[in-house]
Symmetry: D2
Subunit: 209 residues, 4 copies
């Protein structure tokens, strides 16, 4: 395979990118100065050493260069002022960012690393089950509520069901725990006429006074 096709092939594995756009990326790079390409590769080269994965929530975060930190903990997990009674499980780093940006949550997080398609045979290959188990065992005394913040679709519901029964097992014979899910309702932009019965039921249930 020639270098254009080889790089096209690599880019076509990027999320949401097909072969035609992947090739456009290659021609775009060819039309840049070598210095621009060097900045790109340098940033990719340093990505993994500049970005650490938090030992607790498993999210990726810019690591400080100082290096005196004994264990790798992200600033959110290290922030002692947050609410220790709450643990929210989100599918991906981008979901963590969306929730943080909304400013409406002050507890701790765990990044699951994905979600479970229905009938998935090997859940442990898709999501960070044992990491979650470790974190829950560690935080068992403080945490009073685990919030399953999954996407509002079939895969999200399947993941919630899986986690719910998994968490129940972990707490067997231990302290009591409340497992909750994000509220359903009309999301911004929704029209009543097009809303499904489930959404309408929840919108009515959770009406604001």
């Amino acid at each position: 395979m020639n270098p254009i096709d080889r790089l096209t092939e690599i880019f076509s594995h990027f999320p949401g990118i097909g072969p035609r756009q992947a090739k456009r990326f290659v021609y775009y790079l060819l039309s840049r100065d070598q210095s621009t390409l060097d900045i790109l590769t340098e940033n990719i080269d340093h990505l993994k050493q500049d970005i650490a994965q938090c030992n607790e929530c498993k999210r990726f975060y810019p690591s400080t260069s100082s290096g005196q930190v004994p264990r790798k903990i992200c600033p959110t997990c290290a922030d002692e002022s947050r609410d220790h009674s709450l643990l929210m499980i989100v599918p991906r780093d981008a979901d963590f960012e969306a929730i943080e940006k909304s400013g409406s949550y002050k507890g701790y997080y765990f990044i699951l690393g994905g979600s479970l398609p229905i009938l998935e045979k090997e859940p442990a290959k898709r999501i960070r089950i044992s990491d979650l188990q470790n974190l829950i065992n560690k935080k068992k005394d403080a945490v009073k509520e685990i919030i399953l913040a999954m996407n509002a679709n079939a895969e999200g519901e399947n993941t919630s069901d899986f986690l719910r029964s998994h968490i129940k097992d972990l707490y067997q014979g231990g302290p009591s725990i409340q497992v909750s899910e994000l509220g359903r309702g009309l999301s911004t932009g929704s029209e009543l006429e097009c809303a499904d019965p489930e959404t309408l039921k929840n919108a009515l249930l959770h009406r604001t006074r």
Copy 2:
């Protein structure tokens, strides 16, 4: 204008129909038998006499031919077994249908006839304000909560604000009333990553346990 263009012009005022599709409607009708056209016009001719507008909720409903009913009241408004303490205001007939289909509401309705664009100068031309006023005055003693079930967009919020202050005026010095709005949250199919802060805030607030 020739008959094809004249009918095209009429169809192009139908909701969501442009001139090209309107003309396709005309050619579609031309290619049907005269009997098919007769069935169509007959149904349109009888529409207004077969369909009554409810004197209370203002929705359109198939009127019974018996004709002994002194005032025109739809079956929903006439159903004494529903919850008299609840009145829900929806923008359009289709929204009434969506809510009824969800099976999660058992109170009474009022069809507003539309919603208010921001900075609308003549609200009374857009929505049925005086009809609403009459219904509220009539039901004042029974109704404990008025639910503003508007679309979750800027126009819907504007309409809710308008109705809220209007209702407040109507109840000045009278019985107390609770005015509520449909709950916001993740609607079915929503992804966390793409949800706006308002939706996330509400999804967190109304989380289900």
Copy 3:
């Protein structure tokens, strides 16, 4: 079925209209004055008597009220100044209009009434084969070229193939005839990169100097 559902059902057979939009049409009509509905039904009622179908090209056209015309012939077919050597077969009335509007054709037309899906077992139910046969037999001496102006897709090509062999049979042992098809090439808005090989081949073949 109630009148709303009955009319919804009729509108949902209109080209490109699903049940939700069909119901919106009904509510739109309910919200109009009776006089607006009367104008609509009047126009539909008179459609077939105001619009004649041309005995030659089979297209629909506004018929003159005078009524002295012995046979129903549309103004285009009656126009003796057009080029008698050319006959163009188009699928539908709207295609006739598009070609006439382009101002680049001065021959006569035949409206086929549709096109043939691949493997269609009963072509005569889909397209006006016997009408075409009659017209060709009548014009055999004057017409030198028959232009098959079909859509540039699989169904159009299938129809062209069918017509080509059908026309060949009709001219068996008679005068010679040229059968042509519309030229392929880059249509306005096309990008080279996205053009298929067939289109590019033709664009090269028919390059303008």
Copy 4:
């Protein structure tokens, strides 16, 4: 700026990529093994040395490692069996690939590097004018026809107009040259009803017999 945001910023300059998808690229890379990242950066690093830009047609092509070639010429320009009388000017490398794949052209190429928006004040910054001038001067005796193969839109037509007058100046007092453009017509998938008058005119003009 942190490394995630820095790399997000770089990816958001890739053609067709917004900030949200750019960030998804970064998280995608973070979730890969270091070895996968190394293969990517290696390929980008070697891109410019593995890929040469042809001195004649200016397209990018995989360069052979042998290195005995005195000047950098791509295999297509070096192929003496092609038709020396034809030179086709295309906007981009991807257009060259589309034409070659169609197998319907056997002359030589020039990659213009882009096209000219209407009212562009500095054409030389957008397209390779002086490179084109050099190539034309070099091939003046052999080339009999220059084909302007631009996209069939306003920008393409503007570029054709610009090139036409530029080429006319170059040939002032020299050998005669024919300048042609790709033929317009119905491209595969087009429907007659939706075709613009220009396309229909050309489809009629270039009808196939």
